[in-house]
Each structure stands twice: as structure tokens, then as C-alpha cells.
Symmetry: C2
């Protein structure tokens, strides 16, 4: 067990354009995983999704999710954040978080455009409060 | 919907050392995701895990899993393979698949060593027969 605020864990999660693979549960109970663009704020994982998407509907049914980030090349590593999601539809927060997240993944030039596109009614700010964080570094060293 | 045998999908899954993020379900129903080393054989995803690991026990309870692979940089892309897992403890198959998978991720020099290490009683060959495959390419182009 480690913590999302542990510097090595936090730096690993936030390095470059690493995506988070979000595990959630379909309505029939089968487990799904899909990549999300995310950031870390106040010790929580933050991402955006639509309220009507598979992810948004899953979180409404059951807030338990896991976000896992890995280094898919030697020396291999991963951080797994298990947690509970809560959502907000606050428009200012939507635009702010969508812009901050877009800055990470598409760069500053396109961030505002992405922020405006995702910062609209129907979209959600999802914050995942960690309940358990697992990490493994230098797996093949 | 696409297919794991579609060349672009298959090539994406098998490029370089891309890992698969396996979504599975803990005993209390919460969704988890962890990276696995895998290959594709006969239209199925193949990986190894221990029978007593969280992944192995999850598959014994419920064979439904999802393996998602992504490109975590522009132009971003992912392939999501939903499917049903079945396991084998056949030692010859264990050594063969573990060696083939290790060749992909640690290279030919270390593949035999990894194959021998993972090809032992208690380890499983897991084959995931796809039930639904979703892909998205060039997401920010």
C-alpha cells in the first residue's frame, strides 16, 4: 500500500501524457476498462466524462472504480488507484478541469478549445477519492 | 464493433511491448484493472497468471474480463476486448505461452528464463475469447 500523495506515485501518475485506464462495471456486472485523460488534484484523481456515457452511468450505479496507469516498456511499472467516485455538474469546474486536463494531453494551444467543448451541460467532473493505492516500479530490473 | 482478427486491430494489440490492462472484479464486486503481458493466438488474447492471484481467483468466480490496450500519446487510440476467459494448467502450454509472451516483453535473451519461471504448477494459461471488440484510432487527429 502506498498513497497518491507519495512523490514517486504522484510523479508517475502525472508524467507526460500517460493515460489512466478506468475499470468500471457494466449494468450486467461485467468489468470494463477504458482509457481516460486525467489529472490529480488535492489527492484525488480527476477526469471528465458524459453523464450518459457507459462510464457516467456506471458511476451513477456504483461509485467504486479503479484507475491504473502503467509504463508499458522496460523496466515496467504501474500504479493502481482504487477509489470511490463522486460527480459534479458545476459548469465553472467543468471548464476549468477540462481545460487543465486537455493542457496535459493536447498541449496549451488546443487546451482552451477542448475545455470549451467538454465544459458543457451533460458533462461531469468525476473525482475519485483513493481507498487503496498499489504501486510496483522497476518490475524487470 | 470490430474484430480481433481485423489487421489494424491485431497489429495495434501486438505492436512492441504494449501491455494489456485487464479489468476484472474483486470478491466484493468492485472493478479492478491491472496490466498484463499478453499475446494473441487463434483470435484469442492469451496471458499467464497465478491461480491464487487476485486475477486468477476473479476469473474462477466469473470468467468475464476486458483487456484494453491504448496508445497514450497523440494521436491516441485504444482497442478494448471484452470476452470470456478459460484457464488451462497444462505445463507444456504454460512453458510455451510464457516463453512466447516473455519474448515480446523482455526480448529473446531472457525469454527462456521467464518461460521456465512462469511455466510451473500453480500458474495458469488464460485464454480470452472475444465477445465484443471496440476500437478507436487517431482520436485527436
Amino acid at each position: 500500500m502506498t498513497s497518491i500523495t507519495e512523490p514517486r506515485v504522484r510523479d508517475f501518475l502525472l508524467q507526460g501524457t500517460r493515460t489512466g485506464m478506468l475499470a468500471y462495471t457494466a449494468s450486467d456486472g461485467r468489468p470494463l476498462a477504458a482509457p481516460v485523460w486525467f489529472t490529480v488534484e488535492d489527492g484525488e484523481v480527476v477526469f471528465n466524462t458524459g453523464g450518459k456515457t457507459a462510464k457516467g452511468r456506471s458511476i451513477a450505479r456504483d461509485p467504486r472504480v479503479t484507475l491504473t496507469v502503467d509504463l508499458p516498456e522496460p523496466p515496467y511499472a504501474f500504479v493502481q488507484v482504487q477509489g470511490e467516485a463522486r460527480v459534479s455538474e458545476d459548469l465553472d469546474e467543468l471548464v476549468r478541469t477540462a481545460t487543465a486536463i486537455a493542457r496535459r494531453y493536447v498541449g496549451p494551444e488546443q487546451a482552451e478549445e477542448f475545455g470549451r467543448r467538454n465544459g458543457v451541460p451533460g458533462e461531469l467532473v468525476v473525482r475519485v477519492r483513493p481507498t487503496k493505492v498499489v504501486s510496483a516500479f522497476d518490475m524487470t530490473d
